[in-house]
Symmetry: C2
Subunit: 429 residues, 2 copies
């Protein structure tokens, strides 16, 4: 089957835009090989032309005017990564009118005007893809649209803002005050210089609006949403919450109740046994409950250039599949390669080992020699309970080739004082 | 836009098949309304005809012969839910030759003959969908095929067998032996009467083969895979592991290394801080690491009739979208409804409250009265550290309407002995 080429225009070469261009370049041949579709970045536009030149785009690729993207008859897909309501909305509208599929990471725009734009796309027989607008690299929009949409979702609870989750994590770990944790987050790039949108919960609110419209099939007005930021939470609260078995998280909560939708964003005590309680640092997760599917949680990096670019590129590939429609075009699954399989003996692992031994002098030395001979180094050796003359020994190795470990184990087991049938379990490294 | 009808044949009315038929019936009008595609169950086949009659299928719907499904010119999609290699493989092959898209939950078949069947489908311009073959209701295959496929995945680690995860969870909770935990799992329906496939790791191995072929684009021979069951793990091991900071899980691990693929299934010590360590009971999760996307975890119910049926129905909807191709056909997102939004005052929540009060007689009584008057009942009241004459009080309410709580809070704050600016945080119920 010949490769078919799909042409892409990109508007906005900021952090995510540059990440997307880099990822497309890096993985293009791999995607083309597996999907049968050749993705070609054909035009790039940014209000800062110097930025484009600095990033090494050729003269031919750089759009002198935005209409060279939005009205370009050669392009199939327009990727909008400038963010904000305007001029993004105008650019997307123009591109749709000119027959282009849209891929965007613009949460504000999709939250506020998604329905209007999706309707325009639908009229034109086109589509808008916005996986990157919520949850960065986490597959979230696509599962809501394609997998969970056949079920009746009645609840979704999300940690969808990495900045505030990082701040709460640091406050809990080191009893930091909110402002100290925020400064740290800013230093690490997990918070913007002006963190208002994150701290006040506005970012989470937009994301909740997008998820709700998919999960509950209902549009929400921004002003009617209850949104409370994290500003009032102190480390004393985090401490007390821990004492009674809870972590504090900024949650975006949506529920479909008989009376209507209950949507809100606010700091929340989450029981430690709930999977969301262990979502740490800048990570995001959304916990979804449906009638038939039960519970599902989707977890990962909610921000960052490369995770977000992955979602943009996945959307571009799906859009390209729409451009070149065949039922299995662009689905990356039936690779013909067969990589060599590494036998378990050649794999490197850490091992946990437990066995019984006579409790007498010289056993530990013999043990140490057996492992030392095969260059198996031990991370931990614990002598556990003793029954009569028998001791139980638990040890954990450093990473070692399995073959070497097994040789050492054979030697250990041949030591007279050591009882047969040890318990051996590998560690996740 | 008029509704278009897609006709479905179903082979196999066991637990999952019946669940699928029930879910389709329950959610059909809802799916049709939102996707613009009408799914019609047109033929059902099972070797036990009495079972079909008992489930209330009409004479017209029941296939007298399997060819009434596999060779039926009216059908667009065939759903195979009998499991096992044969006759499932023959049925699917016949259906593909007769131009039908396939949806299946058959992990053994996809693991062993997936490539061959997918190639046949591709030749015919058809596709095979198998979301339900791994991870029950968890969206896993689709994210691997469509979202994460644009990235280079280098590692996936999964808890993909609910039976063994349930057993380990119970062993850890109550120091049960493996056989007692197994009996309990069988009583609750989390383990088969013959649990060999689960206990020995074979079930997890098939699932690993399917995930690996998607994540690494490489076919794996079953015999070359290292598979170790859970039979040798005792509760002493679980105890010691906990002591040194680990949980024990049966993991399916796949890694792409420079030398090739390292694939194995074995019991594994997982550090408590790893998100997989807190996957409890019969739940499943797969932790995936990619170059660009970082880490992603997909979590949910890995088995059970209704979760699995959700995945089957999602696949059927996607297949139907291929039958009636328009870029936005069958994508459930642009609902026109606008459900009423419930104001925060009307929502029921539990509250955490912290404030300072003069440490003198009568304050607690006044507090209790203020809450009592508004029928806010308290779950917990703790008097915390005291500085001079001032005490810090932390309390947690039972679930209460927010408006009632706020009224009570106003009354509490008007008590002279209580200092202003309390800390109030809601609980996740």
């Amino acid at each position: 089957m010949g490769k078919e080429t799909v042409k892409i225009g990109l508007i906005g070469l900021g952090t995510i835009g540059s990440g997307f261009a880099a990822l497309l370049k890096r993985n293009n041949s791999y995607i083309s090989e597996n999907s049968g579709i050749n993705l070609e970045l054909s035009k790039v536009a940014d209000k800062d032309r110097a930025k484009l030149e600095a990033q090494g785009f050729s003269e031919e690729l750089i759009a002198g005017d935005i209409r060279e993207v939005t009205e370009n008859p050669d392009l199939d897909i327009v990727v909008e990564l400038i963010g904000g309501l305007e001029p993004a909305k105008t650019f997307i509208t123009e591109a749709l009118k000119n027959g282009k599929h849209i891929v965007t990471a613009n949460k504000d725009l999709i939250a506020m005007h998604g329905k209007e734009l999706l309707n325009l796309a639908s009229e034109k027989g086109l589509n808008i893809y916005y996986e990157a607008s919520v949850g960065g690299g986490i597959p979230l929009i696509r599962p809501l649209k394609h997998s969970l949409a056949v079920d009746k979702i009645y609840r979704l609870v999300g940690i969808v803002n990495g900045t505030t989750n990082y701040i709460f994590t640091r406050m809990a770990q080191d009893n930091l005050g909110l402002s100290d944790a925020l400064i740290e987050a800013q230093k690490l790039g997990f918070a913007e210089p002006d963190p208002t949108n994150d701290i006040e919960g506005f970012d989470a609110a937009y994301k909740l609006m997008i998820m709700s419209s998919l999960a509950f099939g209902s549009i929400v007005e921004r002003d009617k949403l209850y949104v409370e930021g994290i500003g009032k939470v102190t480390y004393e609260d985090i401490d007390y919450a821990r004492e009674i078995g809870y972590a504090i998280k900024l949650l975006a909560i949506g529920e479909k109740l008989p009376e209507g939708l209950a949507l809100r964003v606010h700091p929340t005590l989450v029981p430690f046994e709930h999977p969301l309680a262990s979502v740490q640092n800048e990570l995001n997760a959304v916990y979804i409950e449906g009638d038939a599917v039960g519970e599902v949680m989707l977890y990962g990096r909610g921000a960052g250039a490369m995770p977000t670019a992955t979602s943009v590129l996945a959307d571009v590939t799906e859009a390209a599949r729409s451009v070149i429609f065949r039922p299995n075009a662009g689905v990356i699954e039936s690779s013909s390669s067969q990589l060599p399989l590494i036998p378990i003996e050649e794999m490197n692992t850490r091992f946990y080992l437990r066995f019984l031994a006579d409790d007498r002098p010289g056993v530990f030395a013999a043990l140490a020699n057996a492992f030392g001979d095969e260059e198996v180094s031990l991370d931990m050796v614990i002598q556990k309970r003793r029954v009569g003359n028998t001791a139980e020994i638990v040890l954990v190795t450093h990473e070692v080739k399995e073959a070497a470990f097994r040789k050492a184990l054979d030697k250990v087991m041949s030591i007279e004082a050591i009882k047969p049938e040890p318990s051996m379990i590998r560690l996740l490294s």
